[in-house]
């Protein structure tokens, strides 16, 4: 484990202990550290800002209620597991109620942030890449998407992902392999877009 990671674990453990002693500010410090990460993860899974926000809020509520059940280790991973369970509930609800409006992919909120230094062409390329990736990610299975997001974007290792998603190490690897292969096939015609 790297020194940075150890320091983060120690910081989180300290905040958890203070929160367990009744210090709400300590818990809110944890929320402050992880809310962007958690929202980014969940919104990519449920693909709906408001539903993701509700799921993340529920995840923090659940974490607060069950803080005494945190057994140490990665607080980030523990939160991710709770939040992904909340995201699963959102997706289940959506399947049961297919009339729910589906997220607007072209919503401005989903566009990459613009850099003033970028020329219009670079901005257009970035938007196009984001759109293409979003569409491809939409086409792979939920399990593959989660595994790829946790591994490629959030930087969890296989073992951590197995713990977060509650499956075996082999299943995690298989999901990542199949997900990457599926993405590669989906993006085959547009790989030029990603070559610098």
């Amino acid at each position: 484990m790297s020194v940075d990671l150890e320091a983060v674990h120690a910081r989180d453990q300290g905040l958890v202990e203070r929160a367990l002693a009744g210090d709400l500010e300590a818990f809110n410090d944890l929320v402050g550290h992880y809310q962007d990460f958690l929202f980014g993860l969940v919104v990519r899974v449920v693909r709906d800002r408001e539903a993701a926000a509700d799921a993340v809020q529920e995840a923090f509520f659940s974490a607060f209620r069950n803080l005494d059940r945190f057994r140490g280790g990665s607080f980030r991973g523990w939160l991710a597991r709770i939040a992904l369970n909340a995201a699963t509930d959102v997706l289940r609800l959506r399947k049961r109620r297919p009339s729910e409006p589906y997220p607007e992919w072209e919503d401005e909120a989903w566009q990459p942030p613009t850099d003033p230094a970028d020329d219009p062409e670079a901005q257009a390329t970035r938007r196009a890449r984001s759109r293409v990736i979003r569409t491809a990610m939409e086409a792979i299975t939920d399990d593959q998407r989660r595994a790829i997001l946790l591994f490629d974007v959030e930087g969890f290792d296989y073992q951590e992902i197995a713990g977060i998603t509650g499956v075996s190490l082999g299943t995690v690897k298989s999901r990542i392999h199949r997900g990457r292969l599926a993405l590669r096939d989906l993006l085959a015609d547009q790989m030029e877009l990603f070559r610098e």
């Binding site: 408001e50 607060f64 709770i82 970035r126 890449r129 979003r134 974007v153 993405l183 590669r184």
Partner: protein, 231 residues
């Protein structure tokens, strides 16, 4: 000719193990499998392309834009108060929480020991004694019957009662009968009216009851405070 070779290469590639190439590109192969994958990558142009593109995938996911967080998720004091719940809820959480988790295996062990004690002190003697254990009871019933005027036919049904029955046969003298009556009285006095329970049985039953109560309370508390998001 070139087209023919190209088609053949495509056919060959279709038969190659793509999952092997993907696992190789992800760095998840052992030495032997990696050698097989390297061979494919070196010999098949399309396998080499697959390897290159799979290696590119992790960086592509970073191009996925994420909308900004719509609100702050920090908890208010009111939220915290609501989430902590009522006193009963807090008690249930404590009873079902990990703080008392060590009680569970202890209760399980106590339950096992208690059951063992109950079985060895109460059930096993009855099981192993079988008919032997019923003999004294039958004897007591026989002895009680000798005082009655019409006890004769019943005695003849119990083979082990024969020696006792013989002196009572018609023609026996009154003196013997009196002595027998006196003996019977003595025997009745010696028989315990209410046998004292075995202490091991009591301790075993107590352990079972206590451990059962602990397990039931823990199970109820856990169920009542279970959070589906922690599944």
């Amino acid at each position: 000719m070139t087209a023919h070779l190209s088609n053949r290469a495509a056919d060959d590639h279709a038969g190659h193990d793509h999952q092997l190439i993907v696992a190789y590109a992800c760095g998840d192969l052992g030495a032997d499998e990696a050698r097989a994958a390297v061979q494919l990558v070196e010999q098949c142009r399309r396998c080499a392309a697959l390897d290159r593109e799979i290696r590119l995938m992790p960086s592509l996911a970073h191009h996925l834009a994420v909308p900004s967080r719509p609100r702050d998720f920090r908890l208010s004091a009111a939220d915290a108060e609501r989430l902590r719940g009522s006193a009963v809820r807090r008690l249930l959480r404590r009873l079902g929480g990990p703080g008392l988790a060590p009680l569970q295996p202890l209760a399980g062990a106590a339950m096992a020991i208690g059951l063992l004690m109950v079985v060895t002190t109460a059930a096993l003697p009855i099981f192993f004694a079988g008919a032997g254990a019923t003999a004294p009871a039958a004897e007591r019933a026989l002895d009680a019957g000798t005082g009655g005027a019409e006890g004769g036919p019943e005695f003849s049904l119990a083979p082990f009662a024969a020696p006792t029955e013989a002196p009572l046969a018609p023609g026996a003298d009154e003196g013997k009968s009196v002595i027998d009556t006196a003996t019977q009285a003595t025997k009745i006095e010696e028989a315990p009216a209410a046998p004292a329970p075995d202490p091991a049985l009591l301790i075993g039953a107590g352990l079972v009851a206590l451990a059962g109560a602990v397990l039931i309370v823990r199970a109820v508390a856990r169920r009542a405070t279970e959070d589906p998001l922690l599944r």
